[in-house]
Assembly symmetry: C3
Homo-oligomer: 163 residues x 3
Amino acid sequence: MTADNRFQSLAQELGHDFSGEIKIGGNYTPVMRDGHQLYVSGQIPRVGDEVLFVGPVGDVGDGFDVAQGQQAAAVCAMRALAFLQRAAGSLDAISSIPRITVYVRSAPTFIQQSEVADGASDVLCRVLGPRGVHTRTSVGVLQLPKGAAVELDLLAITVAAPA
Amino acid sequence: MTADNRFQSLAQELGHDFSGEIKIGGNYTPVMRDGHQLYVSGQIPRVGDEVLFVGPVGDVGDGFDVAQGQQAAAVCAMRALAFLQRAAGSLDAISSIPRITVYVRSAPTFIQQSEVADGASDVLCRVLGPRGVHTRTSVGVLQLPKGAAVELDLLAITVAAPA
Amino acid sequence: MTADNRFQSLAQELGHDFSGEIKIGGNYTPVMRDGHQLYVSGQIPRVGDEVLFVGPVGDVGDGFDVAQGQQAAAVCAMRALAFLQRAAGSLDAISSIPRITVYVRSAPTFIQQSEVADGASDVLCRVLGPRGVHTRTSVGVLQLPKGAAVELDLLAITVAAPA
């Protein structure tokens, strides 16, 4: 089973379609290549026009719970993979993910940002297998664009730079 | 018209002089090269001794408005360009900007961090043209050094590493 | 005196042992190599099972003071060095540190994030000497994993990629 197949299966399981046009805000680009490195812009849990998780993640009834935060992080990771798939032609052309950074919009006392980020890490490893292993930084921020619960960016490596 | 000329024109338009000595805080370095990659330290909207925008960006009369936040982001981007110009010899030696990260000191309900970051993206594209296109991550943070409204860092690529 | 010796001396001076197994949270990896680049995951000031500095850094009796924040940042930097040492075989194999990012959990009015980050920069330069010079981004965030006072990630360069 290819990584592209696993991506499609996971998209169906999550109930979202990442194959259509993904809207991005602002005047930047979703992916940029430098040699064999692919940089992906910060992704919020948006599908089409809708941001699926708007609000902080909290631990005392204030905002989303950890499981919901993980779902938000998973959608961010799927968006990042969708962009990598287009930029590299196939997710099987991704050889590693050196770095992801996960920003969790947090209630003031919420300290489980790493657990929320696990939602993204799980997606990367389910789709890319051992090639999805990564270093990670998780932080708790006051706000995010559109009021999103999570934002994620990453750096991926392709097996070979295009000629 | 060269990118260096465009930089100078934009500096005059903004009314600031980025050609003098730029003070930086702390015991780090503003730019570091690894091969053809140039890493630039986080820049706040400081010109000389003065931080031009101190305070949060907000949407309900609390702090700077979006337009002011964009001006702050523009100054951060100009500072980053000033450092790239010195490190690379000329801004025409910059071939791409794979990544910028824009931290916006935000009022609790402010969610237009992407719009603020457009102020930096516009500067990069005005000065560098198509070579200024970049991936971007915008987040809303509680505080920034010196109480600055915006902080920006970036990674640039030079056409060739020096011998 | 080698960088490894200086690391060991500083660990003793700080009163912590970084030679044992370092626990990390989550399902990611502490270090990843891409060619000659080594990416290190976000480090909090944890030694063994204990996070040494839990709480915000503040300036009005609210949380840790700047000196304590610097100590927290120093422990984060030592952890990062411990991982680099294992990944590269020796800290003398580290040729430069292009980038560090320091997230300071901040009280609302605290604006000395750069001064806190100096605690990490000092460690890098004391252990690595001129090869420890780096670019730096310091931001003030609402929360961090485990409620830690500081989190730090970095990118290091090794003298040569392994065969």
